[in-house]
């Protein structure tokens, strides 16, 4: 019996603009098992990023419940959610993923430092992860000295270095050429298969959608369909 990692029920989030009230999420129910490789598909404004933000504890729903890795995310304070993210989650965003004043090694090591790992160990681990994502020799480069694809790889290395329960990726290939995008998705899929890390990826890139093992399609803040590929 697979273990449930994410359990969401009735997640609703409204955004208000003047007198206009729009449901970005409209009663989302969701169960995702540990080790899943899920792609959230849908057009812009369908609610993919909002759902991803909810799952990452970056935003709070107006109503509903959300339990990840057995912990009620909505009952936590903002400091508690930050600590939860540090211990359980990894993030890869569309762009500007890295802290620009830190080198590739320091970016990866930063989260390990926040977890309390000593300097020697975290730098060794950071170098190992950079090597795993094909960035051996780039350890001392700062973000502005790397291409978009290389930066995304550093972000993946950082997301995985803490061995999180869940990696959330929001349009990770949006700013990459198709070859680099495919390479990145191949890497993420490989890590999912080898290490059993759970991935939830929001994208409308056909190549990303094609890599899904579970494809959830969203429209107008609702789940339109969910299927195992």
């Amino acid at each position: 019996m697979p273990e449930v990692l994410i359990s969401a029920s009735g997640l609703t989030r409204y955004y208000e603009s003047g007198e206009l009230r729009v449901a970005a999420l409209d009663g989302i129910d969701l169960l995702i098992n540990r080790g899943a490789y899920v792609v959230l598909a849908g057009r812009s404004g369908s609610g993919k990023t909002t759902l991803l933000n909810m799952l990452g504890g970056l935003d709070r729903p107006d109503s509903g419940s959300l339990v990840i890795a057995g912990q009620d995310l909505l009952a936590m304070s903002s400091a508690g959610r930050a600590n939860f993210r540090l211990c359980h989650l990894g993030f890869v965003f569309q762009a500007y993923n890295l802290i620009r004043v830190l080198s590739a090694r320091e970016n990866v090591a930063y989260v390990l430092q926040l977890q309390g790992m000593d300097k020697k160990q975290r730098f060794r681990l950071a170098d190992q992860w950079l090597a795993k994502v094909g960035l051996q020799g780039f350890e001392n480069r700062r973000p502005d000295q790397m291409s978009g694809g290389q930066q995304q790889r550093v972000a993946v290395a950082r997301a995985l270095a803490t061995e999180p329960d869940l990696v959330l990726a929001d349009e990770p290939t949006a700013n990459l050429d198709s070859h680099t995008g495919e390479s990145l998705m191949g890497l993420m899929r490989q890590l999912n298969e080898e290490r059993g890390t759970t991935f939830v990826i929001a994208s409308h890139d056909p190549a990303v959608i094609a890599s899904a093992r579970t494809l959830i399609t969203m429209q107008d803040g609702r789940i339109e369909s969910s299927k195992t590929v």
């Binding site: 909002t50 933000n53 990452g56 970056l58 935003d59 903002s78 400091a79 930050a82 600590n83 939860f84 993210r85 540090l86 211990c87 989650l89 993030f91 965003f93 500007y96 993923n97 890295l98 802290i99 620009r100 004043v101 830190l102 930063y110 989260v111 430092q113 926040l114 309390g116 000593d118 300097k119 950082r158």
Partner: protein
């Protein structure tokens, strides 16, 4: 410590993302703090001069009188047995030296002129250890030992009386019974101290002659004390009051004796606080703007950090540390420049001789020597740090309160 190292690393590198902005802010801060350090040193320098000149030219650090003498200035209020009193207080810690004086107001007359005068009967030997009067001799000599008719007077008073070294001087003053008594002296020396009260009004004669002339036996009006340091004056005065309790004596510190000196001391304190307030305002104005700009440019980065698991309190601390680093850079350069100028001018002085007459009213020397004092430096340092933290609190609070999801939408 590990957390501090990352705060310092991020703070330092973030500041140098905009080297021109950081440099301009640091330079402006540096100039401000340099100027304020120098001003503070000037203030400490001339306050030290005022205190020293006031206390050591004539007044002493502490005076003991019969109760009420300072207000009445009448010989009826006198210390009848000063030697017994000096023996009784001689072992109190903090006294460097002390001497007896008789002080009366009277009339000084020469063959051709009269003038009001402050007449002091002093112990010629002891007075040289107590005050600087003997060092101000501009013509002739200090009261010669054994010359009972010798007088030393201010050069301004001598000019008014039209007399010089070797000339005869007649002094008249009221004795305890109310009669007027006079005595003849011979001018042996002139003094020029730069202090108007001394130069234009004072006549100094031997104590024993003054006691005989005024008919007060062994009595004196003042026991004047020089303390080990200015810092010991107040505790020493308290100890003296306790020791003389019930004997009908008043114990006055140098700033109790002259309200102007007290006001100068109060003004110096107020000036110090004004300087500190300016330090805080300078730091706030310079740094707050820079840090707010920096914070607004990095909203997405703060969102990213929050997503990575950096707690709001850590974001807060990071921004505050960045502010402290910026102030440290500016402050260090400012202290170096301001401190260097203060030390240089402290050694060589700032010559303001063209204002010498105005300065003499305030017991100031025409050459100012700025004085770098540890407590003043620490106060400016503390004010800079306080300003930095206050300036950092607003952007730090804003950064720590950012909603990660909305911050991540910023570009």
């Amino acid at each position: 410590m590990d957390n501090l190292s990352i705060y310092l690393k991020l703070g330092w590198r973030n500041l140098w993302l905009h080297p021109l902005r950081t440099t301009l802010t640091a330079v402006a801060l540096g100039i401000g703090i340099a100027a304020l350090t120098f001003l503070s040193a000037m203030d400490d320098g001339w306050m030290q001069q005022i205190k020293t000149n006031f206390a050591l030219t004539m007044t002493g650090h502490i005076q003991i009188h019969a109760d009420g003498f300072e207000d009445s200035r009448k010989l009826a209020q006198r210390i009848v047995d000063p030697q017994a009193m000096m023996k009784a207080i001689g072992n109190i810690s903090g006294i460097q030296t002390m001497a007896r004086r008789v002080r009366v107001s009277g009339l000084a007359s020469s063959a051709g002129a009269n003038a009001g005068a402050f007449i002091y009967g002093v112990e010629p030997e002891a007075e040289q250890r107590l005050s600087r009067l003997a060092t101000f001799i501009s013509a002739g000599a200090w009261l010669p030992a054994g010359d009972k008719r010798a007088a030393v007077l201010g050069d301004g008073l001598a000019d008014r009386l039209g007399i010089g070294i070797g000339d005869k001087l007649v002094l008249m003053a009221a004795v305890p019974g109310g009669d007027i008594a006079s005595e003849v002296f011979r001018v042996r020396g002139l003094i020029h101290s730069g202090v108007m009260d001394v130069d234009d009004m004072s006549v100094i004669v031997p104590l024993t002659t003054a006691q005989q002339w005024l008919g007060i036996g062994q009595a004196v009006t003042d026991i004047v004390i020089r303390a080990d340091s200015f810092e010991r004056v107040t505790p020493l005065a308290e100890n003296l009051k306790n020791a003389l309790s019930g004997q009908g004596m008043e114990v006055l510190r140098w700033f109790d004796i002259d309200p102007m000196a007290q006001q100068w001391a109060d003004f110096a304190d107020a000036y110090t606080w004004i300087v500190l307030l300016i330090v805080i305002i300078v730091v706030l104005a310079e740094v707050l703007n820079t840090m707010l700009m920096s914070m607004h440019e990095r909203v997405r980065e703060f969102g990213l950090m929050s997503a990575l698991g950096v707690a709001p309190a850590q974001v807060f601390a990071m921004v505050v540390w960045e502010t402290v680093i910026l102030v440290f850079i500016g402050g260090l350069s400012g202290f170096t420049i301001g401190g260097g100028l203060s030390l240089w001018y402290g050694e060589y002085g700032i010559d303001l001789s063209q204002f010498a007459i105005a300065f003499s009213f305030m017991y100031m020397d025409p050459v100012i020597h700025p004085l770098l004092q540890a407590d003043s430096i620490l106060r400016i340092l503390g004010a800079s740090l306080f300003g930095a933290i206050i300036a950092g609190l607003i952007p730090a609070w804003k950064a720590s309160k950012l909603e990660p999801a909305s911050a991540l939408r910023e570009l």
